[in-house]
Amino acid sequence: MELDIAKESERITANCSRDSSNLIPILQEAQGKFGYLPAEAMQKFARFLKLPESTVFGVSTFYAQFKLAPTGRNKITVCRGTACHVRGGVRILREVERQLGIKPGETTNDMENTLETIACFGSCALAPVMVVDKNVYGRMTTTRVAQILGKTK
């Protein structure tokens, strides 16, 4: 069921003081509740905390934990670190992009998959690495991309 953004945002701020130091906790709660930060919610928070809307936007875009658009049911992360890069990480990424028809940071229209990249996943021995939700796939090849993505559908 769709959440009523205005109502939920008000619920989030209901027990807070109007102190600008509450911004990050409020945004975290909103991120948790909506899965992203809807513009309407950010505007409500700005008004509540008496902050410029642009400032709230600046903070929301500074931290990687906040998303500005709804994300898909599955999160697909392709590593772009050095180790993965030298072992063809870019080709894995291109293949995922081709299969899903989206670029990093985007979500498929059916809201199934969101594609992201990461600077290093910390499993360089397994390079190139791709992660689907909590499953790590090492030693990736382009042909395995289709198989794995097939499963996620």
Binding site: A39, Q43, P52, S54, V56, F57, G58
Partner: protein
Amino acid sequence: MEEIRLTIDGQEVKAKPGMTVLEAARSAGIYIPTLCADPDLKPYGGCRLCIVEIEKLRGFPTSCTTPVTEGMVVKTNTDAVNEVRRTVVELLLSDHPSECLICHRRKRCGPFDICLRNVAVTERCVTCAKNEHCELQDIVDYLGITELPFKHTERSYPVDTSNPFFYRDLDKCVLCGKCVRVCDEVLGVGAVAIINRGFGSKVATFGDKPIIDSNCVSCGECVVHCPVGALMPKVTERPTEEVATTCTYCGVGCGMYLGVRDGKVMSVRGKREGTVNNGFLCVKGRFGFDFIHHEDRLKYPLIKKNGKFAEASWDEALELVATKLGGYKPDELAVVSSAKCTNEDNYVAQKFARVVLKTNNVDHCARLCHAPTVAGLVQSFGSGAMTNSISEFRDAGCIFAIGTNTTEAHPIIALELKRAVDNGARLIVANPREIDLVRWSYLWLQHNPGSDVALLMGMMRIIVEEGLLDQAFIDKRCENFDAFKVALKGFDLDSVARITGVPKEKIAEAARIYATKKPSAILYAMGITQHSHGTDNVIATANLAMLTGNIGKPASGVNPLRGQNNVQGACDMGALPNVYPGYQAVTDAKVKSKFEAAWGGSLSPSVGLPVTEIVEAAYKGKIKAMYLIGENPLLSEPDITHAEEALDKLEFLVVQDIFLSETAKLADVILPGVSFAEKNGTFTNTERRVQRVRKAVEPIGESRADWEISCQVGKKMGGKGFYFKNASQIMEEIASLTPSYGGISYKRLEKGGLQWPCPTPEHPGTPILHTQQFTRGKGQFIPLEYKPPMELPDKQYPLVLTTGRSLYHFHTGTMTRKVAGLNVLKKEGEVEINPADAAKLGIADGDRVKVVSRRGEVVTKANVTEVSPAGVVFMTFHFAESPANRLTNPALDPVAKIPEYKVCAVRVEKA
């Protein structure tokens, strides 16, 4: 004040305590490269270019954040420091168009020179509007950078051209943060912030949308402060000459330089020294000058023949005006002067009315804005003007802003309020609408339109009951307190809360804050005056100030914010039916004979008609001919349908204006006056500061200065005292007859404005009134009772209409509607309506709607917003297409004769 001595680069430098090393160096003429430091902004320490070496301090402190101390030894230009600076700049340049920047031929190069570096034309300093004025170039030259170690990465952001006055080319941005800080720290707008991080960092609006879709108010301060070519005005040509003058758009009276090139005004720059605005300007002042050279300017006299205007010579037109006006009795004539014109213009206009036409039927539009201020404050204090000065607000402990939408109508004063709040002042806003100021307020009293007397009396009763009054001040400086105290009885908190709609606790809290957080300043504007009981409202504010001793002291007082640029001056000059210049009563025989002697003619002893009654008399056929200067009553009068009929009945109407206004179309003769850029003179701003207006360009076509025209008509009609050679001579005559202007002369004004009273050539002017005693001797408490507005909502007309102004337009829009960019920012009128009311009526945001009152109807666009409370709708009065004053109620205040613009009953329906 103490002095601190320090040594910078071997030079002994004297500094004031609290100065930073950077400021000390700059005051001694020593250059330190900087990108993020700015005298208007708090120290930031972001760019690290201003680093220096300081003996006994480790590392390289940033000079912009380090305060000076006695005996400090500073080196600004060492190899070690420059090494670090170089790295900083090299990193900056890795994503800045840099090929020209480090090229040794830059200063000799033209945009299309063949370049061995193969620089794209779009990437060149030589094609950048900031070339040769760019702080980044200065820094690169200072550091002698000629090559760059990092690979260049392009950012390629699209240029944002959405604002009509400036563009944003963020490829050139060095992320100094000045635009973000000025917009937040100084303006309190916060339209932009730095978003993302690392390489993706950029200056952006909420949602990274074009700036036009943000809450930006187009003041252009970010453009002024940007050190590089990232934010640039769309007109980039530079003026060849600059003329210091005073803004024509509101009573703040900001100082500015008009930039002139080829005989045209093509830029405006804020003036810092000796001004109220410290260099800041609002959108109208900075960008609203296109009207000066607009093609629709009236260039020749026009005479109406068979219903059509035909060009005429000055001789012909003046002759006709003189003969026609000469054919009427004094009682049948009226002169309406203008708060937009200079003091000199107004002085001559009223002199003409009194000496030549022999009538005191002379008035101007102050009647429609601040007549109650004059009427009310004169009764309370003896002088009807702002008691304190704009620059004092920042030191106030409490600011009580009632009936003023300061950010829209007096934007530069709003900056001072913002500053006061930053300094810890408690801002109390009393306004039915959720205006912008509410964001900075400590307390917001959302009272019902027209319930001001009840609110203020209720607050005063609390102050008396809780013993928060200043009894010593009352005993020593005031009178009639006991009678006043009796009147408070009727204002118990319960009934006040019921009348005003404000919760009891809030009223009490406001009273306590105002009474205890001294000094407390009251600010008000038309929300107080434009009522059928406007004079009572004004008196209530005066009572409140006296009750707590908040008057006659710095940062306190009763401060009416005057709307138009020279409305204070037009009043001072006696463009009023009851007084000569300097508020000297026409009914006072001694005064009259003084003016008869000076002006060389007999004068009428009886008070003339105010403009609202002039219109009425015209309707009844009693006034037969009118000489109207720079006014547009057909948009500004209440119930304009009626005003139109009245003017139509005139036998002869002369209009002197710069454009063919709605009113000018009805004229028999039109005389082309000039704009503020084409004449010399003075304006008196809201804080009584007389400031120079200087001629920057020649009059357009055959137009003439307004005082010149009135003089010529005067001479033609046989008037004697109209042989002025220039504006300065007029000021000499004003000074000789007006005690409060006695010490004012153009020579003195060269050094900056002077605040009246300034009785003698040695007098420094008066920033604060009533310090020792009130102008009338003792301050008078006046008992009041609550009177509801004349027209209240009922079944047929269930909503209250209140009217006001928009930041982007001035008065009836005669000038601002001619500025293309301002009409991009605000192109049409709207009616603001609360979502609850809109839902009941089935109206959606943006729908065309009809607003209907007992007097007429107007079709306009609905703006569904919570800014207006349920039951109240709001319109501005600038737009001829949707004239709010077709609806307003001409009910007059019995004393000040001001119409009730702020409250009338309407209904809204889908169009």
